[in-house]
Symmetry: D2
Subunit: 337 residues, 4 copies
């Protein structure tokens, strides 16, 4: 349930206000050079506090290797990495125990786990777990780069397309600041230089497996490949991409790089919708479990104005995880590098 | 790869122009009454030929039970059902061997399977395989109905929202007929009376598992839950659904029935984008593998004007498959009914 | 539950006295030549009626291809093969409904599946299902042969070592004939020319995965690798195999070809214990469910005197299935041949 | 690869001379009380140094909880537990780099992982990893106890039957001491009060799944259920267990508690063969990779005279892991306790 992948398999664990979060990566090829510094850039990109619109909570987020690395290289054994929680202020949350926060998992977690869940800051449901995803993604990205020739490096890059409906992102954020509220956004991911043939017909289509892990990112509400929802308004002759050469290159890329569930040699392109951060400074209504009354509720604590701002590096991470796994299944990446 | 599900597991097989298609359902509870008649309505809904916009190809699509049924009841052993192909006209396809059809899997299948793929009518990539999905869905729907009390039957219902951007569906189809082209559409699915607690945090969120199987349906290009892509333009206080009572009922349902990856007791609502049928009567350009030249190409054969018309029953099927599996994981459905 | 394997995955289905039995093999490489004749020798080896000590029940056991084969070659899509049941005499069994046969699964099947199980001839628990295993094994063997060079073909061969404690097998069978009872035996399997490196540390050791599938063969009660149980009486210096050259060749093979869960380049050797056929002509005591009384019971029907006689080809099959899967995981076999 | 289980899933990681070893248990029910003290008895039983015949290496083996526990109870989220390595003397091993130790995984690890493996003390192949198995087993045992009524507690107990062929264990050990060599043994496991119906026909028979995980224990060379290998010498009427009452109680238990792959309500009984510790003080021959010469080799370091002495608690652990998982699959244990 907390594991993903067939050959390259990621297991995540941890809680927002517990000891920390972490992950085990099993199936990583042996011989990949891996040191703490490899992680810092992407971890930094994920962190709050460095740009307008993200939470002031700061964690060092330094990866502590616990297994699978020897002489700064992967050994083929499972890689375990921990991230300690240092900057927790659980007191913010404990008083809210009887008030499930709107938009958060507090209510469902309580129902599903019978009240035994760690409720502090969302516990195991917290976005803090995305640190583990980003770390696994760093490994996956290194594997992908390692697997490909200099001129045709597989790259995975995500960026924000819209904030609050605005392509001028500053303008989008300002809307939220003005409204004293949180706001949603659109993030796009592109992967280039993929070989033809990743993915399987039907259940394990590349879109299937990607969307599976993409919806593991908190706050994602939709995903579309290529022209996506716009394709529902198109005619066939408009949408079909004409194959131009024997490498599968198409003149247009409405399909977004996948046909029949299989990568077709063109750029993989997809977009995801991120809802506004559930924690908003605005007053809201919610049920108080103890009093059984609806009451006014206002989030204190430290939160992101626009969670979408943190998503690109997480989206790259999960995409790289899927691509590394598919590359191994297609035997494009060996068990020893 | 051609299997899906953890407890209730569906395996599909077959080709468009081979012996037939079929499926094995493993993990079905024992004691479910199951006869051929149970399948006919949904199989009929999936079939072409009965409404404007679908292909005139007709198959009897009669389920032939091969295992797992005894005295008209499931036994707990794997259920195998075959559907024979009768109405095949392979000649239509064999002459196109060297011309990969735009928008179809012909090109990627050839690359992935080294030219050994059954290329007739798309072979194993064909939409004909959705017969197997619909049949598995019939079983899943019966399990769901069986598991729930009379007044709170779990229902799964999908319907077309738009054809070619038009909510007046006749109008949408007419656009395609006028353009002598195929056209896309939007399909929505709603599941009611779900218990709170289906799905897991992160990798096996209910959205993750649903989107995984939804992208197994050919021609799907996007999926969104609740307000979906529109949520990216919203403020937090607009999007958050206020919890109104201890059953988790919310005043609005922007989340579409899932928070933190877990069903929250409200109606599950999601929409998918269906691209226009790849086979269009319009002339297109494509590469000829033999001549290495781009050539004009025009689909003969029998095809759907709007493949979205067939999708609702398939979408219900895959949704029911996922829900039945989650219900078993949550022990809401027993191994013996 | 009825599926096995990570890349090369076998699903079996069917019942002793239903429509038939069969299997789906997913993950088979594309381009393997495969025709019905490939199966006949091993199916014949498994069949009863041809040697003293096996049941006179005769089935044609002709493989009927339903998917995954095109122009006599595998396509990379799931391969479905059916075997029809023709020679069933259900009447033999129906009268025994209230009397669970000693040593058979009748009692546990009834308890587990709530009385909905197909009880005729053991239903889905029947040894008849091993036809499906043998058929999957034929495919696996062909893959293994195909993957290796002429001089170093991987071979998998099983043979009977003992019947009723006698290495003179005729003598062992005669003991059973004289006693008018069924009898057990020991079967050994050897696989040669395996590469070093199949298997994983701990959970997916080669012994783990082999023993997993070996205990899927009805009547197996034990398995041992190399010197096996005898190693428990040995000193370390006796048991350790000295490595003699850089190919890993050892002077002795007490380990049976696996160290640390990984194939070590020597012959893989293991033995299994087969209990006497549960159906014996001798009178036995059992409970009558209806009367709740213990009553005398005597098996009619057609049965094997010594089920071990049929086991070698089944043991080869399951071994080949595991080895093919491991070879794919180690990328020694490609997805297109 | 380093994970096991369908609902109750254990992932292990770590190395003999790295930071430590540990595990993640996913799928543990919420609400189980769990504190460090729960682990100490079984960890102590596994430790060397306390009895004649085990290694003087001493580790504190104190469980450090990293996730999944809140207020001394499980939360339903993955439980991560670390054990630090403190008492390592890597120098013992580094000089042996070019000399693969006979009977150990040094050679195969080097071949499989291309020389990138952590070779110190066997690295990830080390028996030290069994600490993680024992810890997971402690959780599984608590779940099993919790799931059953006072009078019918499921118990899992393993004990040594033989050392070096002697049932008088002191005598067996003395043989090894006299010979200045290591020695093997036989361990038996019994589980009582299991419900009828655990296990599946064929691939997931209870014997299949148990033997799978049992061969994950280093040094296991064989497993047999009930009368096991002795059954190969028996007649049918001798081996069959007569059912005596409607609870499935049989007059004898030659089957060892499983028929048709399913628990039958009798005591589960199986035995495993443990080879002599590979590290023996005796001089042995092995290949030197650098010189390519066979050379005399003698183990220094700290090692067990008889590794079988440590096995009972590990065998109990893996058995409990399998039983907890099967109990959850059969819905005998709920997701919230």
């Amino acid at each position: 349930m907390n594991s993903f992948g067939r050959i390259f398999r990621v297991t995540i664990f941890g809680e927002s206000h517990g000891e920390g979060v972490g992950m085990v990566v099993d199936g990583c090829p042996a011989g990949l050079s891996l040191v703490a510094e490899d992680f810092l850039l992407d971890l930094e990109r994920r962190k709050g506090g460095t740009q307008k619109g993200t939470t002031p909570r700061q964690e060092d987020d330094f990866p502590i290797f616990k297994s699978g690395i020897f002489n700064d290289k992967t050994t083929g054994a499972p890689i375990t990495i921990l991230f300690e929680n240092k900057n927790t202020r659980s007191g913010d949350y404990q008083k809210q125990r009887s008030v499930p926060r709107p938009g958060h998992a507090d209510f469902v977690a309580h129902e599903k786990f019978g009240g035994f869940e760690d409720y502090r800051g969302g516990g195991h449901f917290s976005g803090r777990l995305t640190v583990a995803l980003v770390a696994a993604g760093v490994i996956a990205k290194k594997i992908l780069l390692n697997a490909t020739k200099e001129s045709e490096k597989i790259s995975v890059q995500a960026s924000i397309l819209e904030i609050g409906g605005e392509t001028d992102l500053e303008k989008g954020l300002q809307k939220a600041i003005d409204a004293k509220d949180s706001i949603g956004g659109i993030v796009e991911c592109r992967a280039s230089h993929l070989p033809i043939g990743l993915g399987e017909p039907f259940f394990d289509s590349i879109e299937s497996v990607l969307s599976h892990i993409v919806f593991a990112i908190p706050a994602v509400r939709g995903i579309e490949f290529g022209t996506g929802f716009a394709s529902a308004k198109m005619f066939g002759v408009q949408h079909n991409d004409a194959i131009e050469n024997i490498n599968g290159k198409t003149s247009t890329n409405h399909a977004g790089g996948a046909v029949g569930g299989i990568s077709n040699g063109n750029e993989l392109v997809f977009r995801i919708a991120i809802k506004p951060t559930s924690s908003t400074p605005k007053e809201q209504q919610t049920l108080n479990w103890e009093t059984k009354e609806i009451e006014a509720f206002s989030v204190k604590g430290r939160h992101d104005l626009c969670i979408a701002l943190r998503v690109p590096v997480i989206l790259e991470a999960v995409t790289a995880i899927v691509l590394a796994d598919f590359m191994m299944l297609e035997q494009k990446i060996h068990r020893v590098l």
